[in-house]
């Protein structure tokens, strides 16, 4: 079952095209990782899907409906969640308020949903009333992911969720990603930690220069010596 379909997308900033004729599909309840060198256009891809960048060419279909060029707040309403790589929390708001902001478009805060998020990230419970700006990088990442989960998205776009985290936390974030996925959320993950990401991914896509180079099952990419040598650092 196809959830999200990108057809020949071209996108970029100003006159520069970063994404070139890029096509990709994401199935329901699937983890898809996007890997590739810096500047490959991975973040641009996520921004284009989420409507932060309007594609110059191509089509985006989400849940069998064309959503090309819709603004982020409409994408949120359609069931898409996005966690940017940096500045992905509101530092002067408390943990609880950050989560509440995730459900801003709903007039009422759903207490059950909040409890679910805290059950997923129990480490945040004692920090509920603390300002997020005072928390560690790992906890901030959890707040950011929790915020994006508040509206029960069908797909969650994560931009480098483990960048600049301590190794111990990296493992923990990946565990959480698997747990989120088990609850029925499909994920597209852009990552530098390619090996760990591929290990938990159903499928992976290797990108370079704004194009898709290779696509296969996550473990298959891991075991592909050629791709490993070129893109995963041996």
């Amino acid at each position: 079952m196809i959830l999200l379909e990108l057809i020949e997308l071209t996108s970029g900033y100003g006159k520069t095209d970063i994404l070139n004729n890029f096509s990709l599909t994401l199935n329901k309840e699937e983890i898809l990782s996007i890997i590739g060198p810096n500047g490959a256009g991975k973040s641009t891809l996520l921004k284009t899907i989420f409507g932060l960048l309007i594609p110059k060419k191509g089509t985006i279909r989400f849940q069998e409906e064309e959503v090309t060029g819709l603004s982020p707040d409409k994408m949120v309403r359609k069931g898409m969640g996005y966690v940017p790589q940096t500045e992905n929390v509101f530092p002067s708001l408390t943990v609880q308020e950050n989560l509440e902001m995730g459900a801003f478009i709903k007039k009422e805060i759903n207490q059950n949903k909040l409890d679910e998020i805290y059950a997923l990230f129990p480490i945040l419970i004692p920090k509920r009333k603390e300002k997020v700006g005072r928390l560690s990088g790992g906890m901030r990442q959890m707040v950011a992911m929790g915020r994006a989960l508040m509206l029960d998205p069908k797909v969650l776009l994560l931009d480098e969720p483990t960048a600049s985290l301590a190794p111990l936390l990296v493992g923990m974030i990946f565990e959480k990603i698997v747990e989120i996925n088990k609850n029925g959320v499909a994920l597209i993950i852009v990552e530098q930690n390619a090996k760990e990401t591929l290990r938990i991914s159903h499928r992976g896509c290797v990108m370079a220069m704004g194009r898709k180079i290779f696509e296969d099952k996550g473990l298959a990419i891991l075991n592909n010596k050629e791709i490993g040598r070129l893109y995963l650092g041996g």
Binding site: L52, P84, V89, S92, M101
Partner: protein, 306 residues
């Protein structure tokens, strides 16, 4: 000395009303609104029109309440003028600043545009009301009450402090507990992320102008009650407003509030050893010192050049 301190609190609470708005607008729109003081002027003069002309014409009695220097006319005027200046602020934003933002103009361009707005408001006030100082109730005796420690204060001043306390507390409750208030703080923290979360930042911008405008109008009227009205009054407030906002950390509402009080008190205390005409210089010195020593302000905010 105690008396000056008290006058400082009165002045400081009026500055706080202006600097909170200035700081909120900076926090969300990242531009220095040079016309903010003139919104105070506009509010003060609009109130003058209501109190001395419109309500006279409508036949609303002109009695004073207790030992205050004003009466029911002024009490009705407060909310009406605050709403009008709120709307005016939103309209100015829609016809001037919003198109500039759409063109992705730099904050400097926006600040210059606001300077233009400032001149327009000042000139309009001069055209309509003239350039002389005016009072809401000319010729009224404003007796002071004697308190222990030889403090002489006027009932109006107590009224001012209470009104400011009430409005700032209300704003605090709004920002802390309501859905829109939280969204406002979120947008001030990170406008891009606010959009990603589905917050319609255009509405937040309008709300910010409305609150900033209402607070400025209130400050302007209160200053008019305490001192007098003058077309340049808001312009004269600009330096203290900025100094207070920067002192508290620009973008930080609570900082702006404390900053306003500190500035008011320091300015008034300075008159015990300096000529009162040096008051703006004191504001300027405080601003320069803060910018050199701690540009993010005492309570932390954004650095000005981010």
């Amino acid at each position: 000395m105690f008396e000056l301190f008290f006058y400082g609190i009165v002045l400081g609470s009026i500055i706080a009303l202006g600097s909170i708005g200035l700081s909120l607008i900076y926090g969300i729109l990242r531009f220095a609104n040079f016309a903010h003081g003139d919104l105070m002027t506009a509010g003060a003069y609009l109130a003058l029109f209501f109190v001395t002309q419109l309500f006279e014409w409508l036949g609303i009695p002109d009695n004073t309440i207790g030992s205050l220097s004003f009466g029911i006319r002024m009490i009705i005027t407060f909310p009406i003028v605050m709403i009008i200046i709120s709307l005016l602020s939103i309209i100015i934003d829609q016809i001037l600043y919003d198109p500039l933002r759409m063109k992705k103009s730099s904050p400097v361009i926006l600040a210059m545009a606001s300077l233009g707005v400032s001149f327009i408001i000042q000139m309009m006030v001069i055209i309509i009301w003239g350039s002389d100082s005016l009072f809401y109730k000319p010729g009224i005796l404003r007796p002071a009450m004697e308190l222990p420690l030889n403090i002489k204060i006027r009932p109006d001043q107590i009224f001012i402090i209470l009104v400011v306390f009430f409005s700032i507390s209300s704003l605090h409750l709004f920002l802390k507990y309501t859905r829109m208030g939280k969204a406002m703080r979120a947008t001030s923290d990170n406008p891009e992320l606010a959009k990603v979360t589905g917050i319609q930042t255009r509405n937040i911008i309008r709300l910010t102008w409305a609150i900033g405008g209402a607070m400025a109008a209130l400050g302007g009227i209160l200053y008019g009650i305490d001192v007098q009205l003058h077309p340049g009054m808001g312009w004269g407030f600009l330096l203290p407003l900025f100094a207070a906002a920067i002192l508290g950390g620009i973008g930080n509402m609570y900082g702006a509030m404390i900053g306003g009080l500190v500035l008011g008190v320091v300015q008034q205390l300075s008159t015990s050893f300096l000529l009162p005409t040096y008051k703006p210089a004191i504001a300027f010195i405080i601003m320069i010192l803060i910018l050199i020593v701690r540009p993010q302000g005492i309570f932390g905010g954004r650095t000005l050049w981010k």
